[in-house]
């Protein structure tokens, strides 16, 4: 059993990646995730691995593409405006079916926005971001410990499906310190990269080509169908979520992820004292979205659902697609780096439930 250490979220990200066998890290400074790069710059050379500060986020993600195509575990990290710049590369990586891990410590947008915590990159992360028919697996941890665990999962899932995986934390998670344990993990049986990685022939007969170009429409359609099949597998196997206080008859179910979900748990305790039975669905994978969690509670939830976000309702449509019009879906959010107080959220719940009983 490893011991617990007190660590800043961004530094824990770096250590988790190292423990997961990340061989190369390519980064670029941007608040509020710069400590990831700083940590990697200290640690990676000491253990014979690669840290490189790129000339831009665009270059960093293309370095990731090169390293991933070479068959090594690789990660990059950035924050919202920087992740926008990475989208071109992410699309190529998805198209070429390469495994890698991308960290987004989200800050408020749009544009240069601000540097305080936000969740306003939900659409970008879950609906595409770059061009073409592709998907990212998107993990949304709510604590430093969960972030560490999910980063280690992320490398495995990326390798299993040959797909980029994003771990999305809000700025709060990157900046706060929490006790964290780097658990010893049993070695997973992972697919070999030898049949596709471009490592140099070394006696191999057929050359390997890392590529996302298919000029013949028939071939590109076939490739897209193959990707869609893979995404269907991911939707079947990799959904993660937590249901909190969701037993029995419910007045309202909150839907929230990341650090805000922790505020929601406090709200639930507050409202219980006032006689309101409130549950929480906490998506841990934002894509694939945990649709089935809604099936479990939709018939037992009197007033419907409330999406609580650090964005302007970006998760609402995924909730609506899961609820399928059977109950109302409401929204409460703050944005721009503002974080709601438990009272604000509680008041919204009471408003929906028709005032305090």
């Amino acid at each position: 059993m490893a011991e617990k250490v007190l660590m800043k979220g961004n530094e824990a990200i770096g250590e988790a990646a190292i423990q997961a066998g990340c061989q190369c890290f390519f980064g670029y400074p941007i608040t509020p995730q710069t400590e990831v790069a700083a940590y990697m710059s200290r640690r990676m050379p000491k253990i014979g691995r690669v840290f490189l500060q790129a000339e831009s986020e665009v270059a960093a993600i293309n370095m990731v593409y090169g390293a991933a195509g070479s068959g090594v575990r690789v990660m990059t990290s950035s924050s919202s405006p920087g992740v926008s710049l990475k989208q071109e590369g992410i699309s190529y990586i998805a198209g070429a079916e390469l495994p890698c891990v991308i960290i987004n410590i989200v800050r408020g947008g749009p544009g240069l926005g601000g540097i305080q915590p936000a969740q306003s990159d939900y659409f970008q992360a879950t609906k595409g971001g770059g061009h073409g028919d592709y998907r990212l697996v998107v993990y949304a941890p709510s604590s430093v410990q969960e972030m560490v665990d999910l980063i280690q999962d992320a490398f495995d899932v990326a390798d299993i499906y040959r797909n980029p995986v994003m771990v999305m934390g809000d700025g709060m998670l990157g900046q706060m310190m929490e006790p964290v344990e780097f658990k010893e993990r049993e070695a997973k049986q992972l697919p070999s990269k030898a049949d596709w990685a471009a490592t140099g022939l070394h006696g191999r007969k057929e050359h390997h080509v890392i590529n996302s170009l298919f000029l013949q429409p028939e071939e590109l359609e076939k490739h897209n169908e193959k990707l869609q099949k893979k995404y269907a597998e991911i939707e079947k196997n990799e959904v993660k979520y937590e249901m909190y206080n969701c037993d029995g008859d419910l007045d309202i179910v909150l839907v929230s992820y990341g650090t805000v979900s922790r505020i929601c748990k406090n709200v639930i305790k507050m409202l219980a004292k006032e006689g309101l039975k409130v549950g929480l669905i906490r998506p841990i994978t934002l894509w694939p979205f945990p649709k089935k969690a809604f099936e479990e509670v939709v018939d037992r939830t009197k007033y419907g659902f409330l999406s609580v976000e650090l964005s302007c309702g970006q998760m609402v449509e995924d909730i609506e697609l899961s609820v399928k019009g059977r109950k109302p879906v409401n929204f409460f959010g703050r944005s721009g780096g503002m974080v709601p107080s438990p009272t604000e959220i509680a008041n919204k719940v009471k408003e929906i439930a028709g005032g305090a009983r």
């Binding site: 990731v64 593409y65 195509g69 140099g200 022939l201 050359h207």
Partner: protein
């Protein structure tokens, strides 16, 4: 019977898509021969660009990556840093390298990445049908400079080799041409030397190859060669722009 010429093992035995008269075929061959003669095909990884040579990954026999437009030096950096014992090259045109990929090539050179870049300069965007490139000469007519490139409006061409030779990380920079047999042989020598210095771990090596584009210049191959000699070579003088092995001798 003595064999006087045979295919290089560095290229696959497949037809290419290049236009009649295009010099990409010659340049591919020079790269492939160099890799074969140095005995490194087995541990070489090439990076193809976006542009006319986008399909180069179908022609080179070594492992290949296809990069996004301009990003080949960053992709090559990721490869070389992951597999430091490999030989890594990028093959890029002037639109790819000198416009959208300027940051990537400058910083790969500045870092002294141990990669080799083959830069094919034909003063035009070929693949998209002949638009003005950063290397298009003053007065040159292209699809997007129909009145001739006016440097007051469209700026000046970039001499990439001269620019990169100012960077400490670049150890060998030469501009060559494939307009004559003599120059093809010089080009081969330069390309081979660039790979040798990479293998020795010296740093970033760069060979600019002046090339023709009969299709988009609207000239016959023979006229194109003359146009290169009369117009390109005066603006883009051939020769070694930087060679640390020579400096060491001094």
């Amino acid at each position: 019977m003595a064999v006087v010429f045979e295919p290089t093992k560095g290229l696959l035995d497949v037809p290419t898509h290049y236009c009649p008269g295009c010099t990409h075929g010659i340049i591919h061959r020079l790269v492939a021969e160099s890799l074969e003669e140095l005995g490194v095909i087995d541990k070489t990884i090439g990076v193809a660009p976006v542009g006319c040579s986008v399909l180069a990954y179908n022609y080179f026999a070594c492992d290949m990556h296809e990069a996004a437009h301009g990003r080949a030096p960053a992709v090559a950096t990721g490869i070389k840093r992951s597999l430091p014992d490999s030989v890594v090259f990028t093959y890029q045109g002037d639109g790819d390298l000198a416009a959208i990929g300027t940051a990537e090539i400058v910083h790969a050179a500045a870092r002294g990445e141990k990669i080799t870049t083959i830069f094919v300069n034909n003063c035009i965007y070929g693949m998209t049908g002949g638009q003005m490139a950063p290397t298009t000469l003053p007065g040159q007519v292209t699809e997007t400079s129909p009145y001739g490139r006016d440097v007051k409006l469209q700026g000046h061409p970039i001499r990439v080799s001269e620019m990169l030779s100012t960077l400490d990380g670049a150890v060998y920079v030469e501009r060559v041409s494939v307009d004559s047999v003599a120059n093809v042989l010089k080009a081969k020598k330069a390309i081979k030397k660039a790979f040798e210095l990479q293998i020795e771990g010296k740093g970033f090596t760069f060979v600019e190859v002046l090339s023709i584009c009969p299709t988009n210049w609207g000239l016959s191959p023979r006229e194109s060669i003359k146009w290169l000699q009369d117009n390109m070579i005066p603006y883009y003088p051939l020769g070694v722009k930087k060679d640390i092995t020579q400096q060491e001798v001094k």
